[in-house]
């Protein structure tokens, strides 16, 4: 055994606190160490060359690098030693930056002592490392995109344009998500529908994209490159292969209900398309509201449909699909403020509306043809109050986080009121104004210059006063109470993860954060990946964001998918769990603890005490295992080991510390 130790200064990041030369000098005395050295920037080209040369010169067969986090440079150093002819898994990294110099910045002596101990352990472990080899698995060249908002649309188009097949699954009757509901978009104020509906059409017409609306993913199994997905096509009661989208049915349907697309500010029929530019432009029947499906007399739509496309017997159907990669783009919902904000009337004051309702009101194709009017009496409001951070940045009643888009869309709304209603007055209650994007601050300033009055403070109460609303709040800059008689109040409500997203994450097999948004693998370095290989994120399902950020992330997710689908085979990480079948008792405790569902049951026959017997053992699915090690820790008979972190390797690291 010939071990080389390389201790890095990381400039002054480590060297400013830890006595790096001393660590290297001490390491030289540890068992099997034949070479030990310190260096300013080990990850640099000369640094890497130094390692490669030392391997050859000193005939090293194990390498320990004490530096930054393995998350940052493990792969760098693996390829370094592999270039020098060593198996890349014969490397052990010690993190003496985050774990020493950063956390013990004011205790250089202790930091140095700790670094020496950590290197001692790494050397002991390295002496027991074994070469590991990657294997390869084939890739199904098709992607699944779940959620057809702007995030899903953009991802699907990008992947399809790169030449790969895409299946886009949307649970509503149309794609488009929230963006098609918006009127204009900040900061350029271009018409939202004008930039999103062409993309929706492009999705419908793209030869590489298959679109399923009114559909949901109900089961996902398999692993990167080889997922098997069960998709439920909910009953639509209209055969889209026959339907021509002529529109006679929804014209004649006698049943009116309030329209979700118009945020309940308008009506639709029981057989409907959500809005005129919907994609697909063919209707479906809302079974909860259809007269015929609820046992009443009707059947009008079937009678008027020349294409005979209506089918009242339609049933939910399931379809199994094989895909190589999955992008989740399920977006957000708005915080249910009416449940939490009693001081704003628990949703009972009809002239208190949400931002999304306001978008429908100002939208030229909305329920009022773009005329801003109060829901109570249809009059044009003169005084409009906007309240920001309703449910955002409010741990007591809502969520702790900032919803990021509200400052900007409130500025947009304020501008729209001032522009459309001459003589109107606009008040915006705010906590901070956050405008950190290109041309964002300018946009906000423009609204202020147009006359929107920004008042820093929360609103404590909204009550009725005659036909108006009395908004009471505090101006914390003036230190005074303010009361405003308003005709309309618009709430900027928090973005929360889409309905049922926690269960959905479990179905697909990845994790959520404390607020229920989908967890990225690393907030900075792997923002579109999940901890499950082959599953990627785009848009607001990962956290609140605006359209530019959503589209950027969607593009990034598409690139990740293309990178994956461009390969015939992918190499698997060999640092996964391995079962020693002769020790395994078949209790399958490991199966219960595995967060990635990577352990299956296997029946084997083998000789035991001179006879051939049957027994059950655990089996690791190499495609699914992420190498977290939960199973190894839970196994009572020590039958599971994590390669690269075997019990023997960890024990020897601990042992050496105890023997010190």
């Amino acid at each position: 055994m010939r071990i080389g130790v390389f201790v890095c200064w990381c400039g002054s990041n480590i060297g400013g606190v830890v006595n790096v030369p001393r660590v290297a000098a001490q390491a030289a005395h540890f068992p099997y160490v034949v070479y030990s050295v310190d260096y300013k920037y080990t990850c640099s080209e000369p640094g890497q060359n130094m390692i490669a040369n030392a391997i050859k010169e000193y005939n090293l067969n194990r390498v320990v690098v004490a530096s930054c986090s393995p998350r940052l440079h493990e792969s760098t150093f693996r390829s370094t030693i592999s270039r020098a002819g060593l198996n890349p898994y014969l490397l052990e990294m010690v993190n003496i930056r985050e774990q020493c110099s950063w956390v013990h910045a004011n205790e250089p002596d202790q930091a140095t002592a700790k670094a020496i101990d950590l290197v001692r352990m790494a050397v002991a472990k390295a002496a027991r490392l074994e070469p590991l080899f990657e294997s390869s698995i084939p890739v199904t060249k098709k992607a699944l995109v779940i959620g057809g908002g702007i995030a899903g649309i953009q991802t699907a188009l990008d992947i399809a344009d790169a030449g790969h097949k895409v299946l886009l699954v949307e649970r509503e009757p149309t794609i488009g998500g929230k963006m098609v509901m918006l009127d204009k978009t900040f900061p350029t104020l271009d018409c939202s529908a004008c930039i999103s509906t062409p993309k929706m059409v492009a999705v419908a017409q793209h030869p590489n994209i298959e679109l399923l609306t009114c559909a949901e993913v109900t089961e996902v199994s398999g692993y990167i490159g080889n997922f098997t997905v069960l998709v439920k096509q909910k009953a639509r009661y209209v055969d889209h292969s026959k339907c021509t989208g002529c529109g006679t049915c929804w014209e004649k349907c006698p049943k009116k209900v309030s329209s979700e697309f118009n945020q309940n500010m308008g009506e639709r029929k029981a057989i409907y398309i959500p809005f005129p530019q919907a994609v697909p432009n063919k209707p479906c029947i809302d079974a909860d509201n259809c007269r015929l499906l609820n046992g009443q007399k009707c059947g009008v739509c079937a009678r008027v449909c020349a294409a005979q496309a209506i089918n009242y017997e339609d049933q939910d159907a399931y379809r199994q699909v094989e895909v190589g990669a999955i992008v989740v783009a399920t977006g957000y919902d708005l915080f249910d403020w009416a449940k939490a904000y009693g001081e704003y009337g628990y949703g009972k004051l009809v002239d208190v509306i949400t931002g999304l309702q306001f978008e429908r009101l100002v939208n030229a194709s909305g329920p009022t043809d773009g005329k801003i009017m109060r829901p109570s009496d249809g009059k044009e409001p003169q005084n409009v109050v906007f309240i920001k951070c309703v449910g955002s940045r409010d741990e007591a009643k809502g969520k702790a986080y900032c919803s990021r888009a509200c400052c900007m869309y409130t500025a947009k709304h304020a501008h729209q009121v001032l522009e459309k209603i001459p003589g109107s007055r606009v008040f915006v209650f705010y906590m901070d104004v956050r405008a950190p994007g290109k041309a964002y601050e300018e946009f906000y300033q423009r609204t202020v210059n147009e006359g929107a009055r920004y008042i820093r403070g929360r609103v404590s109460k909204i009550s009725r006063k005659g036909g108006k609303l009395l908004v009471k709040g505090a101006d914390t800059l003036l230190g005074a109470q303010v009361e405003i008689e308003a005709d309309l109040v618009v709430l900027a409500t928090a973005m929360v993860p889409a309905q049922c997203s926690r269960e959905f994450a479990r179905t697909v097999g990845f994790t959520t954060d404390q607020d229920g948004f989908f967890q990225e693998a690393h907030p900075k370095l792997r923002p579109v990946e999940t901890t499950t290989a082959g599953i990627f994120l785009a848009g607001c399902c990962q956290g609140p964001k605006d359209i530019p950020d959503t589209v950027a992330q969607a593009g990034a997710a598409a690139v990740k998918v293309c990178t994956l689908l461009a390969k015939k085979h992918i190499a698997t990480n060999p640092m996964i769990a391995r079962v020693n079948e002769s020790l395994c008792q078949g209790c399958l405790l490991c199966r219960d603890v595995c967060p990635f569902k990577a352990i299956e049951m296997k029946a084997i026959t083998g000789p035991a005490q001179g006879r051939t017997t049957q027994k059950t053992v655990a089996q690791v699915n190499n495609g699914l295992c992420q190498g977290c090690g939960s199973c190894a820790a839970s196994c009572r008979s020590g039958a599971i080991d994590l390669q690269g972190f075997s019990n023997e390797q960890i024990e020897s690291a601990i042992q050496t510390l105890l023997e010190k």
Binding site: G342, Y346, S463, R464, K465, L470
Partner: protein, 285 residues
Amino acid sequence: MKYAYFPGCCDHTSGREYDVSTRAVCRALGVELVEIPDWSCCGSTPGHSTSHMLGVALAARNLALVAEMGLDCTASCSACYQRLAMANVEMQNNQELCKKINWVTGKPYHGGVQVKSILEIIAGLRSETISAKLVRPLRNLKVAVYYGCLMVRPKEVQVDDPENPLVMDGLLDAVGAHALDWNSKTECCGASLAISNEDVVLKLTEKILADASLAGAECIATACPLCHFNLDMRQRKINQVFGSDYRLPVFYFTQLIGLAIGLTPIDLSFNTHFVDTKRVLELVG
């Protein structure tokens, strides 16, 4: 049903009607109230605004007396209720404070007593109990039900939803009255600032009266002697200062319930109000 009853100082002075009507209604509905022997001030405004310790200690002494009676405790005044209930919570959650207070009072209290407001108790009676006794339904009498701030705050002891409480509304609806949907249910009346800063009280109380009239109220119902004092006794002064002409009778909810179950206005002390109650009596018939 038997409770240790804490009448409180107001109920012996400015809020006598509350005490009288509470006792009368409870007797009629089968709730036995046993006055706490040797009770003392609950530690309300003057007490707890002087010193936190003093506020808790005064209440804790009363709770210790209740514990000796082996009963749960109720208070009619919402300030008394709030002080006793809050002290109860604090004594249970803060061992350090509990020890100190017990040393100060010399009358150790270690929890175990439940404190309920009289509103909760009466509202908790099964609605049949009350409707069985109903002889004079308050036929659509429009009432602005006023809870004030102490009944629904703070969170640890709140009797109902702090933004839109409904217990008292439900109770009055059950005896035939019409509880109005209005805005100032839980606004502050200025409470005991009446003594130190009357201007503030006049302003706040005027708003409540204005709101009640705007909603079409024929009377106001309260559950707190301080609210009653500010709304009833001060109404004339408000009219003088603001040039208004409010003539809104202000009742304790117990008086209205009592009326509905057949007690006489004299039993319920209607005659000691400042704003004439005759109009309401005529309406009810």
